[in-house]
């Protein structure tokens, strides 16, 4: 059996007396691509925040390579775990090259300057995301998809073994959604990413974690997790799930939403409306 690279045990997160995450347990093997799904406010971002040490859980532990994450110092943790977040810098006229170059921060001492090798790795990362020709342009002038690619290039320069991504594909065109995820997958590192698009998650992930109201409801392959019941209990939608074979012969669940609320749902809404009046 391959030892898990990430293992999360009985994780609890409480903020302002509110349970954000309760008793989360899961593990991720090295090189896996894991999707994190769940409705808004389910705790996806909070779980990721615990993983990149922005928030400290009240109890439970997170191990990376069998070491508790609190035992890493700041820099060595930043060399192990990189994150692509929704925060977008603006108004500071940063050049694309400079944003990517920020990835070497945890590899550098205070006074040292960028070496030739650093420059090379920045160029390689830019090439990998296909933005070499735009490296001197201001970051703000890029399109949404290009901005995300810059952030991924920055993460590549960081040379992590675990990449965390918080909804990297929201607000992007379909083409870029696929492109970004394929790019993340091609890096060959372990990835934990939260998704809004369930079909995209099914198609790309090796395994899927379903969060709802701070609890981990399901953990397994897309085939096992994406079921009509799950979609109706967690997301509150009626949907059909069919299996489709992908180009490499795998069976991928495909979700078709029914774009009409059922009679009972509508009745419920009407009666709620009356109560409000």
């Amino acid at each position: 059996m391959v030892a898990a690279q990430v293992s999360v045990n009985n994780l609890n997160l409480v903020i302002n007396n509110k349970h954000i995450l309760s008793d989360i347990c899961f593990s991720v093997a090295s090189g896996q691509f894991v999707g994190l799904i769940g409705p808004n406010g389910a705790g996806k971002s909070s779980l990721l925040r615990c993983l990149y040490r922005f928030q400290t859980p009240v109890s439970g532990s997170i191990l990376i390579d069998q070491t508790d994450i609190n035992q890493f110092d700041r820099l060595s943790y930043a060399r192990t775990v990189a994150a692509v977040l929704q925060e977008i810098p603006s108004q500071f006229n940063l050049a694309v090259f400079d944003v990517v170059a920020m990835g070497i921060t945890p590899h550098k001492r205070l006074f040292s300057s960028i070496s030739l090798r650093d420059r090379q790795s920045i160029q390689e990362a830019l090439q990998k995301v296909g933005l070499t020709h735009k490296q001197q342009q201001p970051y703000e002038s890029l399109s949404g998809g290009e901005k995300q690619r810059v952030m991924i290039a920055r993460a590549i320069v960081q040379r992590p073994s675990l990449l965390l991504m918080d909804e990297p594909t929201s607000h992007l065109d379909v083409k870029y959604q696929i492109e970004i995820m394929a790019l993340a997958k091609s890096l060959g590192v372990t990835v934990i990413a939260s998704f809004h698009d369930l079909n995209l998650a099914s198609a790309l992930c090796d395994s899927i974690l379903v969060l709802d109201q701070g609890e981990l409801l399901a953990d397994g392959t897309p085939q096992n997790v994406m079921t009509t019941e799950m979609l109706s209990t967690v997301f509150g939608v009626n949907a059909e799930v069919s299996l489709q074979s992908s180009s490499n012969g795998e069976q991928i669940p495909y979700i078709r939403y029914q774009y009409q609320l059922s009679e009972t749902d509508l009745d419920l809404q009407v009666s709620r409306g009356r109560e409000c009046e």
């Binding site: 930043a78 990189a82 925060e87 810098p89 944003v99 170059a101 920020m102 921060t105 205070l110 006074f111």
Partner: protein, 330 residues
């Protein structure tokens, strides 16, 4: 390109220094300026004017500009707010309050004592701000900005109250002080602004990667291994100290900290070392020329520095607004 830009800048700096020393009520030509700098002859009046009067002023003006621009750059970076300014955080209001207190309660009008009082006042304002912003351990940027604005109003209220009760002579002295001037420049205490500005600039260069990472956002900065809270606190201290010392040395000189980082950012990505160097140097150069203007615009009279910087600053901002609007409509 980098070498070219740097060498042009150094040449401009040298030229500006020489010009600033030669222009004034008594015109001294470049040759005499050169002589005064390298083979000082105390018996020559022109050389004495250069070394005893104009040189300290010019150096102080340059230091003030460079220091305030650096302080502005730091504040804009750590708050991720391009409108942040050393004066927004109540530091200069604290300084004015200190000076007013000295003048009205103790009746002292000594230049050095005024600087000391200003320093005390601004340090007091700065500690209050940090205390309020950090009383829960971590500071939210927004609450910090609001606390700074509130503090500056509070200090202004006290200052106005004291002024209301004081005699007209004190009021004139206060107004003259708060508009800023480099005429108090003196070699005796020049080491203080010099050391503080140098250290401030070095700390920016030293922590430039961490500061840049902060521009991505707090969470991203954490994932790059930056201790966000410590960095922000430390950098706030540096910029407050810069402002406090410079306000004490030359009074209220607004707009430089806000304007210069803005202009430089227009041309150079903020994350570059060159950009940081440019910010400090162009701040210094601007101040140097403002001082020359203040000395020479009206004969036999000195204009307050604050009037010139505020005038240039507001015109600059209006044109920036118009420019932005136009580029947005295209």
């Amino acid at each position: 390109m980098r070498v070219a830009a740097s060498s042009i800048l150094i040449l401009v700096c040298l030229f500006s220094f020489m010009s600033a020393l030669s222009i004034g009520a008594i015109h001294v030509d470049f040759y005499d300026v050169w002589l005064a700098l390298w083979s000082y002859d105390e018996t020559q009046l022109a050389q004495k004017i250069i070394v005893e009067l104009r040189l300290p002023r010019t150096v102080l003006a340059f230091l003030a500009g460079a220091g305030l621009a650096t302080a502005g750059l730091i504040l804009q970076t750590v708050t991720r707010n391009p409108l942040a300014d050393p004066y927004l955080f109540g530091i200069s209001s604290g300084a004015s309050f200190g000076v007013v207190l000295l003048l009205t309660i103790f009746g002292i009008q000594n230049g050095l004592a005024m600087s000391g009082a200003a320093l005390l006042g601004s340090v007091c304002a700065m500690s209050l701000l940090l205390l309020i912003a950090y009383h829960k351990g971590t500071a939210q940027i927004e609450s910090m900005l609001l606390a700074g604005v509130a503090l500056s109003f509070l200090f202004n209220a006290f200052t106005s109250l004291l002024l209301y009760w004081s005699d007209p002579q004190a009021i004139t002295a206060i107004i003259f002080w708060s508009l800023g001037s480099f005429s108090r420049a003196d070699w005796a205490w020049m080491w203080l602004p010099f050391t503080v500005v140098l250290l401030g600039f070095l700390s920016v260069i030293c922590f430039r990667r961490h500061l840049n990472a902060l521009l991505l956002g707090d969470e991203s900065a954490v994932t790059l291994g930056v201790n966000v809270h410590k960095l922000r606190l430390g950098m706030l201290l540096v910029s407050s100290l810069l402002t406090a010392v410079l306000v004490a040395a030359c009074g209220g000189v607004g707009f430089v900290g806000l304007m210069i980082p803005h202009i430089v950012r227009f041309f150079i990505s903020q994350a570059r070392v060159l950009g940081m160097l440019m910010t400090a140097l162009s701040g210094g150069l601007l101040m140097l020329w403002v001082d020359v203007l203040a000395r020479s615009l009206i004969e036999n009279q000195e204009l307050p520095i604050g009037v010139i910087t505020a005038a240039i600053g507001s015109v600059f901002f209006l044109s920036l607004l118009m420019f932005k609007k136009r580029s947005a409509t295209i």
